[in-house]
Symmetry: C2
């Protein structure tokens, strides 16, 4: 038996979520055309699709209906994209480049970028509400994603981040911020698939939850490290941006060596959490390594 | 038997939705405090609360559980408030005054206003997902509100509005824009209560739907008229703003006399639609008159 080709599986996940997003985004030919065009520009044809990959890998491991996973994968990616579109605005991080292309407000205009983000957020909840799953599970996924993207999750993390610009935070404070800003949505990616598998064994659920929590924080620490040491060509955006803006990052708070150590410890924690799930969780383990060892 | 005091009922609805909003908004003492403070500033202690009043009046007529109506009333008002906060931003309508107070981005800052709007939108869907109703009905309310607030509803109407600045639209085109920008959410206010009453008779449902549709458009035409002829003290904002910005309005497209006629015809249509529902729909009829005859 040959080893499964993990890269090919990841590519298949990407193609799946691309199709799921395409199917849910209104066509640019439909009024208001410019807004729909902006939503499609920001959402389609780019991105690492790490959150959808976590949805698919978790859901396949748990035997969830693939069509329900499509709805969840599209929803979590739309929330992620809307947050990027709003975070890139001049009043927030004021970024010109995203995924190697002009940001939404640079390609279109600020008003369109604000509305595109707003509309992507609606579409995410609509996608979950229309998922081919029992109503109880649909409601549970909506509650989960809402919790992960509101002020106790992603939006709250962005607010803490903005308020911390220029201030010195401790590594522990940085972790609180990172867990909300980035961790919550990565955790939710695993959590959505878990929610769609209501008969899951408690130990399996606990292992997946610990995996997602450790990985969510590791992801953002790696992001901080890449902002210092990454290759701008691979990243599709400028490096050193966090530092130039006096943004609180893990390496700035704890030093680069400590940041690497923390990311490695969290990676080990994530792998230990899913170890007992056996070889069928191999794609999740591979994704964990992919996320921590990525260069973009 | 004395006639019911409709004003007192409206005040009771306002007190109810205020409490429902207060219960759902995170406290300003909770991190991130400034974001929570902004959300509370924009949402509490102001506004006509017309949408919640439509939810309550429809729901009481249909015998829906009041606690489920609280969830729907809070949700629709949070969507309305988030849309005001984003529409007021410098990149959109650039308004300084709202409900007689500085707009969110003037009182706080632009980044906080963007995030406050984003977070209010999440909270609206969370409120519906947590309503004390069967999961099937909760999912149906979420689909309804999503449809009314996305690009085929409110956000789409705002995009059409922005794209039309400085252009001459026909009255028919204005109506398409108004039905999305304002009408969709007013219709949804009635629709949410209808959705929470799944055993409703088809004729009752049809009457309420026609009522809401006519009233939703009438509301925005009256708004256009008030922007020309209203009292800024009563409105809590400047008048003549639409004209100064070359915004497409019904009076500008059709003339003031035609605008008044159209509003009156829509009002008659709304009343005719609920006439067959009898005196128990009296509060809805009164609200229709209140909306069309309002001075703010």
């Amino acid at each position: 038996m040959t080893a499964p080709d993990r890269h090919a599986t990841l590519e298949a996940y990407r193609a799946r979520v691309e199709a799921a997003l395409e199917a849910r985004l209104p066509p640019a030919s439909e009024l208001p055309g410019r807004l729909h065009e902006a939503m499609r520009y920001c959402t389609l044809g780019g991105g690492k699709r790490i959150r959808p990959a976590l949805v698919y890998a978790t859901g396949e491991f748990l035997g969830v209906d693939p069509a329900a996973l499509d709805a969840a994968a599209a929803a979590v990616e739309m929330i992620h994209v809307y947050s990027l579109v709003h975070d890139d605005l001049p009043a927030m991080d004021d970024d010109d480049l995203r995924r190697g292309r002009p940001t939404c407000h640079r390609q279109f205009d600020e008003a369109t970028a604000i509305l595109a983000g707003d509309a992507l957020q609606v579409l995410a909840f609509e996608s979950l509400a229309e998922a081919p799953a029992r109503a109880e599970e649909r409601v549970a996924t909506i509650r989960l994603l809402a919790g992960a993207s509101g002020t106790r999750g992603m939006a709250g993390g962005q607010a803490i981040d903005l308020a911390a610009v220029g201030r010195v935070l401790s590594p522990a404070e940085i972790e609180v911020m990172h867990r909300r800003k980035t961790g919550a949505l990565l955790e939710a990616s695993v959590g959505l698939a878990v929610t769609l598998a209501p008969d899951i064994a408690p130990a399996t659920r606990a292992g997946l939850t610990r995996f997602a929590s450790a990985l969510g924080l590791a992801f953002q620490i790696v992001d901080d490290i890449l902002d210092v040491e990454g290759d701008p060509t691979l990243l599709g955006k400028a490096v050193g941006a966090d530092q130039a803006r006096h943004k609180p990052t893990y390496p700035a708070a704890a030093g680069m060596a400590a940041a690497r150590e923390r990311a490695a410890a969290l990676y080990a924690e994530a792998q230990a959490a899913i170890g007992p799930l056996g070889p069928r969780a191999g794609m999740l383990a591979w994704l964990g390594a992919f996320i921590v060892e990525r260069s973009s």
